[in-house]
C-alpha cells in the first residue's frame, strides 16, 4: 500500500508542469466557486434580513381577505385578544399593529394609487428598522399633526418636498369616501423603488379617527426570538382565532421565498460548473499521463502486478492530486470568506442600479458549515468518479505493450 502511494506520489511529479497546471486550476476554480457561493448566499441573506427587519417581520396577521382587497372594513377581529396573547408569549420579541387602507394620493401634479399605512411610531420603531430608511426630514414622532412620510420615488414623481401638502382619499369602514390633507414631514428610501412609489406612512391614531369610531387594525407584524419559530407561531395563532389569517414571511413574500430558492438553484449551477471542470481536468490530465505510460503499465502487469494494485495506484495518483488542490482551494476560500464576512465586499462600482432593485452594495459572504460539508462531499465524490475511468482504462492495458520492440 505504501509502495503504491509512493509510486502515485512520484508519478504526480514526473510532469510537474502538467500536474501544476491542474493543481492551479483546481485551486483557483474551487476558490472562485466557493467564494461565489458565499457571496450569493450573503446577498440573499442580507436581502431577506433587510426585508424582514424593515417591513415584513417574521409573521403577520390580517383579515383573511385584506391583503388581496385592501379595504378598510376588512380589519382584524378580536384584535385585543390577539395582542394579549402575543404579549404573553415568550417566543415573541416585539409586535406592532398597523391600520392600513388602499386609497389615492393627490398632489398639485397628479393623483396616484397608494397604500396608506397608519403606524404606531414607537411600537414600529421597536419592531422594525423602517425608521432607518428616513433620508430627509423627521419621523412621525415629532408631535406635528397630520404628518405623512412619503417615499423618495413618489416625491420625485410628484415633484414634492418636505413641507408640501397632499390629500389622501380613501373609504372608511362604512364605505364612505373620506378625504384629508397631510403635511410631508419626511422622505424615506427603502430597498425597493417600487415600494417607495406606492406606500405612505401616517400616524395610526389619526388614521383610525378618520376611518371608524372604534380602533381598527389591519395588520399585526411580529418579530420572534428566531426566524425558525415563525411556522409554529403562525399555526398556533390560526388555531386560536377564527376569522384571521396569520402567515410567515415566506408566505407573505413569495418574492423572498423565490429568492431563497433562486439562491439555491444558483448555488447548484455554480457547483455543477465547477464539478464539470474538475472532472474534465482530472480526465484530461490522467488520460494523458496514462497514455504516456502504456508500456510501463504493461511491464508492471507483465511482471505480476495485480489489476487491483494497478487500479489503486492510478486512483491514488488522481485522488491525491485533486484533493490536494481542492483542499488548498477550499482553505483559501474559507479564509477569504472569513475575511470578507467581517469587512464586507464593496460592490459599489457595480451596484449603481442595485439600490433601485433593492440590493445592498456591501456584501458579507456567508457559508454555513453544512454547505461546506456538502461541497466537500461533492468534490470528493466527483474526484472518485472521474478518477475511475482512467483507472479502469489503466487495468485494461495489455501486458504485451511492454514486449513491443519499438
Amino acid at each position: 500500500m505504501k509502495t503504491l502511494l509512493t509510486i502515485a506520489w512520484r508519478n504526480i511529479w514526473r510532469n510537474p508542469a502538467r500536474s501544476g497546471v491542474l493543481l492551479a486550476a483546481i485551486v483557483a476554480g474551487l476558490w472562485a466557486g466557493v467564494v461565489t457561493v458565499g457571496i450569493i448566499n450573503g446577498l440573499m441573506q442580507q436581502r431577506i434580513d433587510y426585508m424582514i427587519e424593515s417591513e415584513i417581520t417574521h409573521a403577520q396577521i390580517h383579515h383573511p381577505e385584506f391583503l388581496a382587497e385592501g379595504y378598510s372594513w376588512l380589519y382584524i377581529p378580536d384584535h385585543d385578544e390577539i395582542i394579549s396573547r402575543l404579549e404573553n408569549d415568550s417566543r415573541v420579541l416585539s409586535f406592532t399593529s398597523r391600520t392600513i387602507t388602499d386609497g389615492m394620493l393627490q398632489s398639485p401634479v397628479k393623483t396616484s394609487g397608494v397604500r396608506i399605512r397608519g403606524i404606531d411610531a414607537d411600537k414600529e420603531r421597536e419592531t422594525t428598522t423602517f425608521h432607518e430608511n428616513l433620508i430627509e426630514g423627521e419621523y412621525l414622532d415629532s408631535g406635528m399633526s397630520s404628518a405623512i412620510l412619503i417615499g423618495q420615488e413618489m416625491a420625485r414623481e410628484h415633484s414634492m418636498e418636505i413641507g408640501n401638502r397632499v390629500v389622501l382619499t380613501f373609504e372608511d369602514v362604512n364605505n364612505e369616501l373620506i378625504s384629508a390633507s397631510f403635511n410631508i414631514v419626511g422622505i424615506f428610501r427603502s430597498a425597493s423603488t417600487d415600494y417607495d412609489r406606492t406606500n405612505v406612512f401616517i400616524r395610526s391614531e389619526e388614521f383610525i379617527k378618520l376611518l371608524s369610531h372604534k380602533p381598527v387594525y389591519h395588520e399585526i407584524g411580529m418579530m420572534l426570538v428566531h426566524e425558525d419559530l415563525a411556522g409554529e407561531k403562525v399555526a398556533d395563532l390560526n388555531d386560536h382565532f377564527a376569522g384571521i389569517k396569520a402567515q410567515t414571511w415566506r408566505q407573505l413574500s413569495p418574492e423572498l421565498s423565490m429568492l431563497v430558492e433562486l439562491g439555491g438553484v444558483m448555488v447548484i449551477i455554480i457547483t455543477m460548473i465547477i464539478m464539470a471542470a474538475l472532472a474534465f481536468g482530472i480526465l484530461n490530465t490522467m488520460l494523458m499521463a496514462l497514455f504516456e505510460r502504456m508500456r510501463e503499465i504493461g511491464m508492471l502487469i507483465s511482471i505480476g502486478m495485480s489489476k487491483l494494485r494497478v487500479f489503486t495506484t492510478i486512483m491514488f495518483e488522481s485522488v491525491i492530486l485533486t484533493l490536494t488542490g481542492a483542499a488548498a482551494g477550499f482553505l483559501l476560500a474559507w479564509i477569504t470568506i472569513g475575511y470578507l464576512s467581517g469587512s464586507g465586499l464593496n460592490l459599489e462600482m457595480f451596484a449603481e442600479g442595485a439600490a433601485q432593485l433593492g440590493w445592498d452594495h456591501i456584501i458579507y459572504p456567508v457559508l454555513t458549515p453544512g454547505e461546506y460539508v456538502i461541497i466537500i462531499i461533492v468534490v470528493v465524490l466527483i474526484t472518485l468518479i472521474s478518477s475511475l475511468y482512467p483507472a479502469i482504462k489503466g487495468i485494461r492495458i495489455n501486458p504485451l505493450e511492454a514486449a513491443k520492440s519499438s
Binding site: 509510486i7 508519478n11 505480476g304 495485480s306 489489476k307 501486458p399
Partner: protein, 235 residues
C-alpha cells in the same frame, strides 16, 4: 526436469483478415538450469514464442506448461499472480519504474510478493551487488546507462525467485561491451545459482554464449542444438 514445455503451439495473427502464422506447431521442452538462446531472422516468431512462454499472450492452439501446470487456460488474474511467482522478465526496454531507484525497482517485485521488509532489503542489496551495481542503488533509471538498466532488470527478474527468466533481445539496445557484461552476469547466475534463462537475440556473440540454441524460421523450429561452451566459462 522439464520446467517449461510447449505442446503443438501455434499462433495466427489476424485470422479473419490477413492471417499471419507467427508460430507453427512448436513443441519444445526446457529443463531446469538451461541457458537457451532462441535465434532466427526477423519476423521468424521469437518474440511471439517468448510471449507465449511468459503467459503474456494466448496461443491460437496448443498449450504451454510451466512446472507441470498448464498456463494457457488460466484466467487472467490468476495468470498475473502466476507470473509474479514463477516467471522473471527482462524486456528490451521499459523494464524499470522510472520514478523508483534501482534498489526500489528490485524491491518492488518482492513487495508485490508480500515478503518481509528485512528480507526484501537484504535481497535487493545482494542482487544489486551481484550485478555490479552495489554503488548505484539509489540511482534512478534515467541516471543509469542502458547496460546498467538492463542489469537492474536482471536483478529484478531474479529477485522474485522465478522458475525461469525470459529475456527478449535483452542486449539489442546495448553497445557490445555492455552486452557482453550483461551476458557474463546472466551466465554467472546460471552456473552458480542454476537460474534458467531463455533469451532471444540477433547478436552472434551472444548466441555463442548459449549452451542450447533453438533456431526458428517462419514460425517453426528449424534447428535445436546443444553445444559445449566451456571456453566462455572462464568469465
Amino acid at each position: 526436469m522439464a520446467i517449461l514445455q510447449t505442446k503443438n503451439l501455434s499462433k495466427v495473427y489476424n485470422p479473419d483478415t490477413v492471417p499471419v502464422h507467427a508460430l507453427r506447431d512448436v513443441s519444445i521442452t526446457i529443463d531446469k538450469g538451461e541457458f537457451t538462446s532462441i535465434v532466427g531472422p526477423s519476423g521468424s516468431g521469437k518474440t511471439t514464442l517468448l510471449n507465449m512462454l511468459g503467459g503474456l499472450d494466448k496461443p491460437t492452439s496448443g498449450s504451454v506448461w510451466v512446472n507441470g501446470e498448464e498456463i494457457t487456460s488460466m484466467k487472467e488474474s490468476k495468470l498475473i499472480d502466476f507470473r509474479l511467482h514463477n516467471i522473471g522478465f527482462v524486456f528490451q526496454h521499459y523494464n524499470l519504474i522510472p520514478v523508483f531507484t534501482a534498489h526500489e525497482n528490485v524491491s518492488f517485485i518482492m513487495l508485490l510478493q508480500n515478503r518481509s521488509k528485512k528480507e526484501i532489503r537484504e535481497r535487493a542489496d545482494d542482487l544489486l551487488e551481484q550485478v555490479g551495481l552495489g554503488d548505484r542503488k539509489n540511482a534512478r533509471p534515467v541516471q543509469m546507462s542502458g547496460g546498467q538498466q538492463q542489469r537492474v532488470a536482471v536483478a529484478r527478474a531474479l529477485a522474485s525467485e522465478p522458475k525461469f527468466i525470459l529475456a527478449d533481445e535483452p542486449t539489442a539496445n546495448l553497445d557490445s561491451t555492455s552486452a557482453m557484461n550483461l551476458l557474463d552476469i546472466m551466465n554467472k547466475m546460471n552456473r552458480e545459482q542454476n537460474v534458467t534463462f531463455v533469451f532471444s537475440t540477433h547478436d552472434q556473440r551472444v548466441i555463442d554464449r548459449a549452451r542450447r540454441v533453438i533456431t526458428m524460421v517462419d514460425g517453426a523450429i528449424h534447428k535445436d542444438e546443444y553445444r559445449d561452451v566451456e571456453e566462455t566459462a572462464e568469465n
